[in-house]
């Protein structure tokens, strides 16, 4: 079979907001959907400075652990008021936030999780990480992806509940560097 070489990745550059900001991007779930949660965080570089020109995207299952996609072997489903995907550019202080629903378990092994994509000026290829939930201690201990990480790294992938908002800061580099993945 002929194999075609893939088109290389390039940075989104400093002007990504021209093309990639959606007015409804951060609304993974419609505002009036029951049981909505807030995920919020800040992006930092290796000097501890905030990153004001990043774009965070999230992809996650619905509360039943299913995806609106034909490759979900259980069949594509649409959860009312929910689209599994969110996109939010960081503001001048590096902050991003999403309104979503907590995902259910996708399978019997993995804890509930959100796949996170980070794009920014200075990133020639997007980065991938995962967010886990602080109220899923037992499931997190058994999660096969978290199990491949050292204990301090595992802790960095679990969001922190502060007054009902799930905080998930992203450190591109440095002592508190977020564990990133190749998929």
């Amino acid at each position: 079979m002929t194999e075609f070489g893939a088109t290389p990745s390039q940075t989104v550059g400093p002007f990504l907001s021209i093309g990639l900001v959606w007015a409804d991007g951060a609304q993974v779930a419609a505002a009036d959907t029951m049981g909505g949660i807030e995920i919020a965080g800040q992006v930092f570089d290796g000097a501890g400075e905030v990153v004001p020109d990043a774009l965070i995207e999230i992809w996650q299952a619905d509360p039943d652990g299913r995806f609106p996609h034909p490759d979900d072997p259980r069949g594509a489903v649409t959860y009312p008021g929910f689209r599994s995907f969110g996109r939010c550019a960081t503001d001048a202080t590096g902050h991003f936030s999403f309104h979503t629903l907590k995902p259910g378990r996708v399978d019997d092994e993995q804890a509930p999780h959100v796949d996170v994509t980070v794009l920014a000026r200075g990133l020639l290829k997007h980065l991938v990480t995962r967010l886990y939930f602080p109220d899923e201690t037992a499931a997190n201990v058994a999660d096969p992806v978290l199990a491949t990480l050292a204990e301090d790294e595992r802790a960095r992938l679990v969001a922190v509940d502060i007054d009902g908002t799930l905080h998930f800061d992203i450190h591109l580099q440095g002592e508190r560097e977020t564990p990133f993945f190749t998929v």
């Binding site: 990745s9 002007f15 093309g19 490759d71 560097e177 993945f181």
Partner: protein
């Protein structure tokens, strides 16, 4: 469940690319962990024509008038590395105007803004992966990365494909640009053939008489691993 094969080594830039100075404090320093492809990774958002409004595929008109510059038609095919078309997928593009200026508060380059050029567009591939939009050829512009640094003319592209693993943001360049040699973003791609795949081709078949020049830019996303069944010769 499908799995997506890795791209060949050298296809994508290293995160740590010192010639592009902005990578210095933004590249991870620890090795990446392997995320096995499970359901979350082999599914992904299926955006297409639902995110496109009439006129989104024509960047040459904005705010009641026509943009200045060389009108061009950019078209091509979105496929995966197995040669299969990637149908119905959303393409988002953004770019500088003919003078190399972005409509963005951070861009202070002393070229004028064009009151009739916003610099962003969207289109969706058809069922066979073909896409097309009309725009203005962007200008080159200076930046502060190194002495007398100029970005070659380029259009930013963002695609989702059909799976989380296929996400791609890239830049389309123009043939024979004399600025390639000094551009650390273009040259961050290790493989020369990879760099060549980011350069569009002039396409006289799409060039339209007394209207616009045509450029072809095919986009290749990660392909699926073949199942044994698929790799058997087709006897039909």
């Amino acid at each position: 469940m499908p799995t997506y094969r890795p791209d060949r080594p050298g296809t994508h830039p290293d995160y740590d690319s010192p010639a592009y100075r902005s990578t210095a404090l933004r590249h991870p320093t620890k090795p990446l962990h392997l995320l096995p492809q499970r359901l979350t990774e082999v599914t992904g958002p299926l955006f297409g024509a639902d995110r496109v409004q009439p006129g989104d595929d024509d960047l040459t008109h904005w705010a009641g008038g026509e943009a200045v510059g060389q009108r061009i038609i950019v078209h091509g095919r979105v496929m995966d590395s197995g040669g299969r078309p990637v149908p119905d997928t959303l393409l988002e593009v953004w770019q500088a105007n003919a003078g190399g200026r972005y409509r963005h508060p951070v861009d202070q380059w002393a070229a004028p803004l064009d009151p009739h050029f916003a610099g962003h567009g969207r289109t969706a591939a058809d069922s066979d992966g073909h896409y097309r939009f009309t725009t203005i050829k962007p200008g080159a512009y200076p930046w502060k990365n190194h002495a007398n640094a100029w970005r070659p003319a380029h259009i930013h592209f963002s695609l989702f494909g059909q799976a989380f693993t296929q996400r791609l943001v890239t830049q389309m360049y123009f043939p024979d640009d004399p600025l390639f040699f000094q551009d650390p973003i273009f040259n961050s791609v290790p493989d020369e053939r990879g760099r060549a795949r980011m350069v569009s081709a002039y396409d006289h078949d799409v060039t339209t008489d007394h209207w616009a020049l045509g450029f072809r830019f095919d986009i290749v996303l990660r392909g699926r691993e073949q199942t044994p069944f698929e790799s058997e010769p087709d006897d039909d």
